[in-house]
């Protein structure tokens, strides 16, 4: 697995040393709160009421077990024994004390982890398909490209003080597990007619109050030219992006204001002048070294006469959580840390250490994190999946609900978050109670429900089959319902069903929507397919009858 070189680690330590000096100046009264805020955010540190929240990057969602144990140690040493895996391949700690931050970051740097640019108006952690390298039909493993672009953006002299935050995702697989077209900038690995590798570039996507699907600004940028293209795309944003309106800082507003065509024209005009600049060509030697570092640690296995165990709970869990690996004899295993009724993504240090031990035993010491806030064991021998399941079950990590409608994505909501307009987790719990019949859950299959407590959309409700958005109406909690959002095959923002529904009635509405789906489903049709065929009307009629 890829590891930082000594000079990369030295860079991380130098960054901590500098931040420590800035912190000291702030505590001594020599650096005001507004400037310190800009600086600490670029080091992943948020200020909250009673403590600080630190966001640590998990670049492209790949972790080794040494790193996961280090994250567990940080949870014990500096927090209250747990961390929170986010939807964007980061982990957050909520109870960090300011004077301890430098030591914490030094501990992390020793295992190649950091919090650089995980927050603030800079380029954030680059996310990748959590199944990079694992699935059939993939154009290429996105991670070597993520790493080269991540490095290139590290304290970039020109792009560290952008108008707003800037999130990049890269996907090389057939299905888009990254939701790249709701990112500020998305890169899809493609091959042109000549078979050469390059990227299709999408700019200006985002969720939040003004959800937008990113526009395609270039259909094919050759791999070696991607840095010069990115430089131009970001330069136009840096120079022309709005800085005067707090809610219009993101690049999606610039693209909308200029029009995608005009934005692309400006980028192309700038790019013409740097495309042939040798200093901006992607370093293909470094790329091939990284490809070796990210190569899969497994070879095809012939498992003669292997017959998997038969066990009711195991079969249900396996159906929803185990996927085919492109290397024969292996499987990809998805693990949810969340018990029903709890905030998704929370993990105790004990759970982290259990997962590290199990990954050493069953998954070549490698783990991945996903936007559904789950953990993936990327390479498990098929004849060991049952043993892994037994272990997971022992530790309460193998609920058969995983992968069904009952595994709801919810933000912390009004119970925990100052910004929320309504609660999220209690609604999730009530939906789970309504759908508590395992047979029915299996019949419904994989249907996503995402619940955000406000329009910041932390639970990505716009791109779920059923999305709920919390709001206030006359002092009461209401939920706006959106249906048939998707990102896997193509990116579609969910359609508003109609007037928002009160908290009392929202679970009935969800059940109505699920029933319209079941009543109209033909064979194995997915929710979005049924929606495309029958339209919004039957759903509307049922919910508002």
């Amino acid at each position: 697995m890829y590891q930082y070189s000594p000079e990369d680690t030295k860079f991380l330590v130098e960054r901590v040393d500098q931040f420590e000096k800035q912190l000291k100046r702030h505590l001594d009264g020599d650096l005001d709160a507004a400037k310190f805020r800009s600086l600490r955010l670029r080091n992943g540190l948020y200020m909250e009421l009673h403590a600080h929240m630190l966001r640590v990057a998990i670049p492209y969602g790949t972790l080794n077990t040494i790193q996961l144990r280090a994250l567990a140690d940080v949870a014990d040493k500096y927090d209250r024994g747990f961390g929170h895996f986010t939807t964007r391949q980061n982990i957050q700690y909520n109870w960090i004390q300011l004077p301890e931050i430098a030591n914490l970051l030094r501990d992390l740097s020793s295992v190649g982890l950091h919090a650089i640019q995980t927050s603030g108006k800079a380029t954030r952690n680059i996310t990748a398909d959590p199944l990079s390298g694992l699935t059939e039909g993939e154009i290429a493993d996105a991670r070597p490209y993520c790493e080269l672009i991540r490095r290139w953006l590290n304290l970039h002299p020109e792009f560290s003080w952008l108008p707003g935050k800037f999130k990049i995702a890269i996907n090389g697989a057939k299905l888009d597990e990254t939701a790249l077209r709701v990112h500020d900038l998305g890169l899809r690995l493609v091959r042109n007619k000549e078979g050469e590798l390059g990227f299709t570039v999408y700019v200006g996507g985002g969720l939040g109050a003004a959800a937008m699907v990113a526009a395609e600004t270039a259909s094919f940028v050759p791999v070696e030219d991607i840095l010069s293209y990115l430089e131009s795309a970001m330069r136009i944003y840096n120079l022309k992006g709005r800085r005067d309106h707090l809610k219009k800082l993101r690049i999606k507003f610039l693209v909308r204001q200029l029009g995608a065509e005009e934005y692309s024209r400006l980028v192309d005009e700038d790019w013409k002048q740097t495309r042939d600049d040798l200093e901006l060509k992607l370093n293909l030697t470094q790329l091939s070294e990284l490809e070796k570092d990210f190569a899969l640690p497994i070879k095809p296995l012939v498992l003669d006469g292997f017959v998997d165990k038969v066990d009711f709970n195991y079969s249900i869990w396996k159906k929803n959580n185990v996927r085919a690996h492109k290397i024969s004899g292996h499987s990809i295993v998805n693990i949810s840390l969340t018990k029903l009724g709890e905030a998704p993504g929370d993990a105790t240090s004990e759970q982290m250490r259990i997962l590290a031990d199990l990954a050493d035993q069953y998954s070549y010491s490698e783990l991945r994190t996903t936007k559904r806030q789950t953990i993936v064991f990327p390479h498990v021998r098929k004849d060991q999946v049952f043993d892994l399941w037994k272990s997971l079950e022992k530790y309460g990590l193998a609920s058969p609900h995983q992968g069904t409608l009952a595994q709801i994505v919810a933000c912390p909501g009004g119970d925990y978050c100052d910004l929320a307009k309504a609660v999220s987790i209690p609604i999730a719990t009530r939906v789970q109670q309504r759908f508590n019949d395992m047979d029915k859950l299996l019949d419904i299959g994989n249907l996503n429900i995402n619940i955000s407590g406000c329009e910041n959309s932390c639970a990505h409700h716009h791109v779920a089959d059923i999305g709920l958005l919390g709001m206030q109406k006359n002092g009461e909690e209401y939920y706006q319902i959106t249906v048939a959002g998707e990102t896997l095959q193509k990116t579609v923002i969910g359609k508003k069903l109609g007037p928002s529904v009160s908290g009392d009635n929202v679970v009935d509405a969800v059940e109505d929507i699920v029933n319209v789906y079941l009543d109209n489903r033909e064979e194995e049709e997915k929710f979005t397919e049924v929606f495309k065929r029958i339209g919004i009307k039957p759903f509307k009629e049922k919910v508002y009858e």
């Binding site: 020599d30 400037k35 009421l49 304290l155 707090l246 200093e279 910004l419």
Partner: protein, 164 residues
């Protein structure tokens, strides 16, 4: 995840930015300690011939379109980029265009500069700087040259091991 404290702090910063109407600097000491008179980009464009003879410098605000200077750049004695607004990063792109793309040979001075941003300014193409008064007494090297390695091409990477 995010919280209202952060939002309130951000609003306050933004408000300060919008209401700010500082008079522009009218002169600056160059690297040889000579006082250079500064004119705005608009003034420069309107009186290029006259100002070219007088040997004045041009002060560039973040909101200025530096492309307006491109054709007459070599007549400008000195370019002063104003970095007073900590969160406004347009000066770094302006420095890049003037220095690296248009190969301006004169002095590019970052004025009203912040200690913590020296490394970004200098690598973007700024050749000299004048810090705001608040920063007197701190070791500038910690912030202008605190790293041993860099990961991208830039106008100036001197002293850094390049890895890209």
């Amino acid at each position: 995840m995010s919280d209202s404290n952060e939002l309130t702090a951000a609003s306050a910063t933004l408000e300060a930015k919008v209401t700010e109407s500082r008079p522009l600097d009218t002169s600056v000491l160059n690297k040889d300690n000579e006082s250079i008179e500064l004119v705005s980009v608009e003034q420069w464009i309107e009186n290029v011939d006259e100002f070219s003879k007088l040997g004045v410098g041009v002060i560039v605000k973040p909101s200025d379109d530096v492309k307006l200077l491109q054709d007459t750049l070599n007549n400008v004695t000195l370019i002063a980029l104003d970095f007073n607004n900590f969160d406004d990063g347009r000066g770094y792109s302006q420095a890049y265009l003037i220095s690296k793309r248009w190969k301006y040979a004169g002095e590019i001075i970052g004025i009203n500069a912040h200690l913590d941003q020296l490394q970004f300014m200098l690598r973007s193409g700024v050749t000299s700087y004048k810090l705001l008064q608040d920063y007197e007494g701190f070791d500038e090297l910690d912030y202008s040259n605190g790293f041993s390695i860099c990961y991208q091409a830039a106008a100036n990477n001197s002293g850094l091991k390049e890895k890209f």
